[in-house]
């Protein structure tokens, strides 16, 4: 199968008070299309940093990251943004919905930004998929945490991405709601590839692949 993502000896150093601090010390991995991958690890181990690098939100210090066969190294910010717009959806831990927009408007936003067609119908359909057809015109402040995260997932799905990154998507939710969100995300595979950073071992165990980030390296969990 074609890998949608390849990590080859990825190193990343952050700068703290002017001193370089190694976070990732040679990560190698590849993710095949249609699978689900959970990245687990202790707090501060660099999971979110790794996710940012994989999504092209930051640039590794050395090594290579290839998304859909294209190397991210050397790409401009706008080229990476275009790649994300075309292939990637992103779900944040704290939802990151636009407060002044309704659920429907939040989901329509990516399509509007890229001038696509049938925007409203597509957004309504995706919101229907996450079972929020009755909340289309509600603002984020009047939605529960679970509902907000479902809106965020709908926003990530609406542009029909091939790959979804989720950064601790159930971190701010209660157990029941978290399970509902987990099932929703897992149901996206195999049509979509899912890469999720999580502390929730139960959620991780339901993913097809699991890796543990330990001392800056990825260790597959069997």
């Amino acid at each position: 199968m074609t890998p949608v993502l390849e990590l080859i000896d990825v190193h990343y150093e952050a700068s703290f008070a002017g001193n370089p601090v190694p976070i990732l010390k040679g990560c190698d991995y590849f993710v095949e299309a249609g699978t689900s991958l959970a990245i687990v690890g202790r707090s501060g181990s660099g999971k979110s940093t790794l996710l940012s690098l994989m999504a092209g939100l930051d640039e590794q210090t050395t090594g290579s990251i290839r998304l859909f066969g294209q190397s991210l190294m050397g790409m401009s910010e706008d080229q990476r943004a275009a790649l994300r717009a075309q292939h990637i959806g992103f779900v944040f831990q704290n939802f990151q919905l636009i407060a002044g927009m309704t659920a429907l408007e939040n989901v329509m936003l990516p399509l509007e930004l890229f001038g696509e067609s049938d925007i409203k119908q597509r957004a309504e359909a995706v919101l229907g998929f996450v079972e929020l057809s009755h909340r289309l015109h509600h603002y984020p402040s009047s939605l529960s945490g679970g509902e907000q995260q479902r809106v965020a997932i709908a926003r990530a799905l609406v542009s029909r991405p091939a790959l979804i990154f989720a950064d601790e998507p159930t971190g701010n939710l209660d157990e029941t709601t978290a399970q509902m969100i987990q099932q929703l995300l897992l149901s996206l595979t195999p049509k979509t590839t899912l890469i999720v950073v999580t502390h929730d071992l139960d959620f991780a165990s339901q993913c097809q692949q699991r890796v543990h980030l330990v001392q800056g390296k990825l260790v597959p969990v069997t």
């Binding site: 940012s52 910010e77 706008d78 275009a82 992103f90 002044g100 927009m101 936003l109 509007e112 926003r155």
Partner: protein, 816 residues
């Protein structure tokens, strides 16, 4: 506790945590200090100039001799007393005669400063330069004055165009006061005015003024150097009011910036306060630690602002000196105190309610951010209101304080109403917009209070700047429009009937068209059955009009530039009385109605007229205008003279030659050239308008601070949003477009608000002040919208440029 307060304050200051609060307080104290210092110094300079030109702090003028004891009383108080006796009389040089204003002065009188009499000699006279030119006189020549012959020992010239014009009517001639009795001109029936000038220590002169005021006679006129002219005083009062309002506007707008910034900073304190309360720190201690920090900020920032204001003032001194050559800077203590106190009060007025709320709230409320007690808030708002009133009381003159407060309150309500309306309109528009515009409106919706404050602050300043510019332009345009290209710029008066033909011929030879208008000098003495006396009127204008003779034209038809307002019917006409029409202002002053009877003293003859019409006159048209126009009647024995005006387009030398030739043909003819006067007025208007607009620049800076504070308050949300957009795949140009469009929209809406208000104000000014039809000023709207959006886009570029180039990961760190 003090050391903790100081430590935290120092730490926060080092981290530039309260930057926008610092800037707002600094700006407000700097602007108040600078504006107060400018107005105080200009005021002091103008009083000093008046004292200098009057040569005294106080003048007592009287139509009756002044009792000696006033001079003695003044001398006892070490006040220098100058004396002057003035009367109009004729001089003779060979066969030529000329009306002059004879001024007999004592050595201590201010006029003596420029007179050079030789000690001991009795037959000396100093004459005006205009008289010297007119009669071809020079030092050493003689002239006859009353029963005596005098030798010219000096020629005095005046630089002021207005004085030069007035002096043309009756040029001044000076003699020592000791000579006046020898002339035989001061007998009974002579119209003489007496004057005492007083110059001494301000306290002593003030005491003397109080004593004179207490014993004031009907024949007296008291003139103080600081209130030398009612018209000038009114004009200056208006200018001071403009300056005071400029300072107040800056303070209030800076206050809005303080409000937005303190909301942001105090919000950051919430968790700390809640934690400290939960740990058992008392409310009083919290008040001390956090209130102390705010107090330190207010004091230090206002000190810095005050220092900047004083430095700014001294930097401006060279510019002010260009405007007022004798400009002297007054001691800056009072403006400094004003700057410090008013900015500190403004700071607390806008910070207190929020701070109060934070301190009063229970820990769990702070953690959960739940509602606060309404009663507690009311008290805080009440204290804020009192502080604001104190600020206004500090800055505004007492007699206008309540009116200005009322006007400001109403304006604030109006602005708030407009801002609310605009906000609703754009929020309603959101569903029908899409893409970046929808996102922009969504951003604006996040903090409606901040949005309205930005509308109000920026809209108000734009409005004031537009209005100042437009009123200035409108006034000048209106004035210039009322003057055609051939508006008269030269007046000739006092032409004798037998000289009219010759004068007319000479003018025609130069293709100058000029109608010769016959006129009389007439003094109004009775209205219907009521004798009119200056003592019966309190208005200075009425007094002056009754004390002097006015020009009365004799014309069959009203001049074209006069508008008939009211007239009598044929039934009301009393044909045995000559008819007179009266100018509207004069009619209002003496409550004259059509068909009333007016009695005039015309060179000793008493003649009764019937008022047949009331008419309106455009005084600024520079056409010959008259308070009274009588229809021709039998006027055999009346001393008529002729007046004319024309547009002089000749070369200066030809014009000068014509003037000399006319004065030869008509020795009593007076040539009044008003060009220098018009230039002087225009220059003054331009300078005053520029100065006022410059000072409103502070208000503009304050409004920019409001927008910057709002930008700061929304910064966290902006970082978050841009991270989301970048993650969703938005391109940099889309981020820039969204960032700019948000500000451009605020600018456009603030511009709309400003244009709307300016258009409304202009319409009111047009109708009620200039009596012009209302017109839709497209340029006003374009300027307002362009300036509003343009300046805010500039602010957006300055405040966001760094953000646009940030990597998504860096944005993420800001959010962590």
């Amino acid at each position: 506790m003090m050391s903790l307060t100081l430590r935290w304050f120092w730490r926060s200051t080092q981290r530039r945590e309260y930057l926008w609060l610092w800037l707002a307080v600094i700006l407000s104290s700097a602007s108040v200090t600078l504006i107060s210092q400018v107005s105080q110094s200009v005021r002091a300079t103008m009083v000093a100039e008046t004292v200098n030109s009057m040569g005294a702090q106080l003048l007592l003028r009287s139509t009756q001799p002044i009792d000696r004891h006033w001079a003695e009383q003044a001398a006892k108080a070490e006040i220098t007393v100058g004396e002057l006796i003035q009367l109009n009389t004729m001089i003779a040089v060979d066969d030529a005669f000329q009306l002059v204003s004879l001024r007999a002065v004592s050595p201590a009188h201010p006029d003596s400063r420029w007179l050079t009499f030789e000690a001991g000699a009795q037959d000396q006279v100093v004459i005006d330069q205009g008289l010297a030119q007119k009669m071809n006189l020079s030092i050493g020549q003689t002239l006859a004055l009353g029963k005596q012959t005098f030798r010219i020992v000096g020629i005095h010239s005046h630089q002021d165009p207005l004085a030069m014009m007035v002096n043309q009517l009756a040029p001044p001639v000076f003699i020592p006061i000791s000579q006046i009795d020898r002339l035989g001109l001061t007998g009974e029936g002579s119209r003489i005015s007496y004057e005492h000038s007083f110059l001494g220590k301000p306290d002593a002169v003030e005491k003397l003024y109080a004593a004179l005021q207490a014993d004031k006679r009907a024949s007296w006129q008291l003139i103080r150097a600081d209130q030398s002219s009612q018209d000038l005083e009114n004009t200056l009062s208006t200018a001071w009011l403009f300056l005071d309002i400029a300072a107040l506007t800056t303070l209030l707008i800076a206050g809005l910036s303080i409000l937005i910034a303190s909301r942001f900073y105090l919000q950051r304190w919430v968790q700390t306060l809640a934690l400290l309360r939960a740990l058992g720190v008392t409310q009083a201690r919290l008040f001390g630690v956090f209130g102390g920090q705010l107090m330190l900020l207010a004091i230090m920032a206002s000190l810095i602002g005050t220092a900047i204001g004083v430095i700014g003032f001294y930097a401006l001194v060279p510019v002010l000196t260009l405007w007022l050559p004798s400009f002297t800077s007054d001691i800056p203590w009072l403006p400094m105190l004003m700057g410090m106190v008013s900015s500190s009060l403004t700071f607390w007025a806008f910070t207190l309610p929020l701070f109060w709320r934070m301190i009063q709230t229970k820990p769990q409320q702070l953690f959960r951010q739940t509602a606060h007690s309404v009663a507690q808030q009311r008290l805080a708002w009440l204290i804020s209101g009192i502080l604001l009133v104190l600020v206004m009381a500090l800055l505004l003159p007492a007699h206008l304080r309540w009116w200005v407060m009322l006007a400001l309150g109403l304006t604030a309500l109006l602005l708030w109403g407009f801002a609310l309306l605009l906000q609703r309109v754009i929020f309603r528009l959101q569903p029908i917009t899409r893409g970046w515009l929808r996102l922009v409106i969504a951003n604006l919706k996040q903090d409606p209070l901040s949005l309205k404050l930005q509308f109000v602050a920026f809209g108000l300043v734009l409005y004031l700047l537009l209005l100042l510019t437009l009123v200035h332009v409108q006034l000048i345009h209106h004035w210039q429009a009322s003057l055609s290209d051939t508006t008269p710029n030269v007046f000739i008066i006092n032409v004798q009937p037998e000289e009219v033909q010759d004068v007319q011929q000479q003018l025609q030879q130069h293709q100058l068209s000029a109608e010769m208008i016959p006129m009389l000098r007439a003094r109004l003495i009775q209205h219907n059955d009521r004798r009119l006396s200056p003592e019966d009127f309190s208005a200075g204008r009425a007094k002056r009009l009754l004390e002097r003779e006015a020009n009365m034209a004799i014309l069959s038809d009203l001049p074209a530039h006069n508008t008939l307002l009211e007239s009598i019917t044929n039934d009301q006409r009393q044909s045995q009385l000559p008819a007179v029409s009266v100018e509207r202002g004069m009619a209002e002053l003496f409550q004259i109605r059509p068909a009333d009877r007016l009695v005039f003293d015309i060179q000793g003859q008493t003649i009764t007229f019937q008022v047949t019409a009331i008419r309106d006159v455009v005084w600024q048209s520079l056409q010959p205008n008259f308070f009274f126009i009588a229809e021709p009647w039998t006027q055999e024995a009346l001393p008529l003279t002729y007046l004319s005006s024309f547009y002089d387009n000749l070369t200066p030398s030809t014009s000068q030659a014509l003037k000399a030739s006319l004065q030869q043909a008509s020795p009593s003819l007076l040539w009044l050239d008003v060009r220098a006067l018009i230039d002087q007025i225009q220059q003054l208007m331009q300078q005053a308008s520029t100065a006022i607009r410059f000072l409103y620049g502070f208000a503009l800076l304050a409004s920019i601070l409001v927008v910057m504070s709002a930008t700061l308050a929304a910064r966290e949300a902006r970082y978050r949003q841009w991270l989301v957009l970048r993650t969703l795949g938005a391109q940099q140009r889309q981020l820039i477009l969204i960032g700019l469009a948000e500000y451009a929209l605020i600018g456009l809406l603030a511009g709309t608000l400003a244009a709307l208000l300016a258009q409304l104000s202009l319409a009111l000014i047009s109708v009620y002040w200039l009596a012009l039809p209302i017109h839709w000023d497209i340029a006003l709207w374009l300027w307002s919208l362009g300036l509003g959006s343009g300046s805010l886009v500039l602010i957006a570029v300055l405040s966001q440029a760094k953000l646009w180039s940030m990597r998504p990961r860096a944005l993420m760190h800001h959010n962590e």
